[in-house]
C-alpha cells in the first residue's frame, strides 16, 4: 500500500523544504529519516519524555506530537540549526562545564527547554527551573547538574545586564 502523502512547504534551520510528506509521519521522523537531522531524539513517542523537542515558529514543542504536514508554512529549528546559529552556545558551554550532558540522549530536548527558560523565565529560581524542566526526562544526571548549568546561565546573564544598567 502506498503511503498517503500531501504537499508541504516549510523551512528547517533556514533551508526551504518543498516536498510530498506522508500525512501520518510526525515531524521528528521527517527530520531524522528524510533530512538526516538526527539530533532530535525519539524516546517515548507519546509526549512524555521531551527528547524530541524542536522549535516551531520560535516556540519549543514536542516533535513527536506534531505532524510533519502541520509544519506547512512554518519555521522549524532543530538542535543542529540552533547550534550552528550559536543561540545555544552559552547553555552548551554551561552544560559541559557542569557535567550536565552525560549520555546525551535527553540533551537536545533539554537544551531547547533551557533556551526557552533563558528567554522567557530569566528570574527563575532553582525550584522554578526544576518545574520548567519537569517535562524532560533525564536518566543519568539526577537533574542536579542540569539545574546547576541552567541556573549558572541565568545568574550570568542577570549580572551582565546589571553591569550594563
Amino acid at each position: 500500500m502506498s503511503e498517503n502523502c500531501m504537499h508541504a512547504q516549510f523551512t528547517v534551520n533556514g533551508e526551504t523544504v518543498d516536498a510530498q510528506v506522508p500525512v501520518r509521519m510526525h515531524l521528528v521522523d521527517y527530520l531524522r529519516e528524510e533530512m538526516g537531522l538526527t539530533g532530535s531524539h525519539l524516546g517515548c513517542e507519546h509526549g512524555v519524555c521531551g527528547a524530541c523537542q524542536v522549535m516551531v515558529d520560535g516556540q519549543v514543542v514536542r516533535g513527536c506530537l506534531t505532524l510533519a504536514i502541520q509544519a506547512d508554512g512554518k519555521n522549524v529549528q532543530t538542535i543542529e540549526g540552533l547550534t550552528e546559529s550559536r543561540e545555544l552556545q552559552q547553555l552548551q558551554a554551561a552544560f559541559l562545564e557542569h557535567n550536565a550532558f552525560q549520555c546525551g540522549f535527553c540533551s537536545s530536548g533539554m537544551l531547547l527547554t533551557a533556551l526557552e527558560i533563558t528567554k522567557h523565565h530569566k528570574q527563575a529560581t532553582r525550584d522554578e527551573i526544576r518545574e520548567l524542566i519537569s517535562g524532560n526526562y533525564c536518566r543519568c544526571t539526577g537533574y542536579q547538574a542540569i539545574v546547576n548549568a541552567i541556573e549558572s546561565v541565568l545568574v550570568k546573564s542577570s549580572s551582565e545586564s546589571g553591569v550594563k544598567v
Binding site: 500525512v23 501520518r24 513517542e45 507519546h46 514543542v61 514536542r62
Partner: protein
C-alpha cells in the same frame, strides 16, 4: 509506535469543518493542538479515517470579556491562558490550574477546547469548568447551542459534543470580590495526570460560607462535584470542626476506582488532605 494511516484536511473555514464532518461522520477526528490526539494515534488508541486540522481557524482563538463572562476560544493554548492578565484578574481558579496542565512544550501547543472536548476525567480544565459551572459553546452547520459544564461531561472521553458538531469556546463567569478559589492537585511528577485533583470555589459573607462548589478530578469516569461535602460547608465558618465534617461527608461523595497512579484508599485519603489544605487556604485568603 507509529500512527495508523489516515487522511488529512487543513480546514480553511468553519464550512470546511462542517462539510468534512458531514461526509465522514464518526470516523472523522478534529485536530486542534494534538497534544493528546497525536499521542493516542501513536499508541494506536485512536484510528480515525481523517483528521480535520482546525488549528488554522483564527476565529476560534483569543480571550475576551463580554458582559459578566470571559469567553475563551477553543483554540486558545494553555500558554496563552497562563500569560493572560484577563484570566489572572477574572478567572483566578483557571489561572491557578493552568500551571498543572502538562509541561512547557505541551502548553505551547495544547488548547483549552481540545482538553474540554476530550473529556479526560484526570484533566484540569474539566474540573475547573464544573466548579465554575462554565458554559460550553457548541456549533454545528445549523447553529449554535450552549451547554452547562454540569451537562457537558458524560463519561470517559464522552461529552455532549455530537458527531457533526464542534466545541468553539467556553464562557467562565467573572469572579466576584467575596469569592475564594483554590485549585490543587497531586501527581507523581509535576505536570503529569493527577492521582487526585480538586477545584474549589466558595463565596464568603463575612466569615460564613455561602455558595460552594467543589469538583474533583481523577476520581470517576468524568469530573464530579462532591454534593455532600458542599452541603456540609454551606452556612459554616472555616474552622477545624467544619473541616472534619466536610471530610467525613466527602468520604460519602467519592467512590473512586484505583488506577495505575494510586489505589482507591490512597485517592480517598489524598482527597481529604487536599480539601483540608484548600479550606485553610480559602479561609486565610484576603483580597
Amino acid at each position: 509506535m507509529k500512527s495508523p494511516e489516515f487522511s488529512y484536511l487543513k480546514a480553511q473555514n468553519m464550512g470546511d469543518v462542517f462539510s468534512a464532518l458531514k461526509t465522514h461522520g464518526d470516523s472523522a477526528q478534529l485536530l486542534a493542538g494534538g497534544q493528546s490526539l497525536l499521542a493516542m494515534l501513536n499508541l494506536r488508541m485512536a484510528n480515525p479515517s481523517i483528521l480535520i486540522d482546525i488549528s488554522g481557524l483564527d476565529s476560534l482563538k483569543g480571550i475576551q470579556q463580554s458582559g459578566n463572562v470571559i469567553r475563551i476560544g477553543a483554540l486558545t493554548t494553555h500558554h496563552e491562558i497562563d500569560s493572560s492578565n484577563i484570566v489572572k484578574a477574572h478567572i483566578p481558579l483557571l489561572a491557578q490550574a493552568v500551571p498543572y496542565v502538562a509541561h512547557l512544550a505541551i502548553r505551547n501547543k495544547g488548547t483549552i477546547g481540545g482538553s474540554l472536548a476530550l473529556g479526560d476525567p484526570a484533566a484540569e480544565y474539566p474540573a475547573v469548568a464544573l466548579a465554575l459551572n462554565a458554559t460550553l459553546i457548541i456549533q454545528s452547520a445549523t447553529g449554535e447551542r450552549r451547554v452547562k459544564a454540569s451537562e457537558f461531561f458524560i463519561s470517559l472521553y464522552r461529552t455532549a459534543v455530537q458527531a457533526e458538531e464542534i466545541l468553539i469556546g467556553v464562557e467562565f463567569p467573572i469572579a466576584k470580590p467575596n469569592q475564594r478559589f483554590v485549585f490543587s492537585e497531586l501527581a507523581r511528577r509535576k505536570g503529569d495526570y493527577a492521582m487526585v485533583g480538586m477545584a474549589l470555589a466558595l463565596s464568603l459573607e463575612g466569615q460564613t460560607i455561602q455558595d460552594v462548589a467543589l469538583a474533583f478530578m481523577a476520581m470517576d469516569d468524568k469530573p464530579i462535584l462532591a454534593p455532600r461535602a458542599m452541603k456540609a460547608l454551606t452556612g459554616q465558618t472555616i474552622n477545624p470542626q467544619t473541616i472534619s465534617q466536610a471530610q467525613a461527608a466527602l468520604d460519602e461523595d467519592l467512590q473512586p476506582a484505583g488506577d495505575l497512579s494510586a489505589n482507591a484508599a490512597t485517592k480517598k485519603y489524598l482527597s481529604r488532605v487536599l480539601l483540608s489544605r484548600a479550606l485553610i487556604q480559602a479561609g486565610a485568603t484576603h483580597v
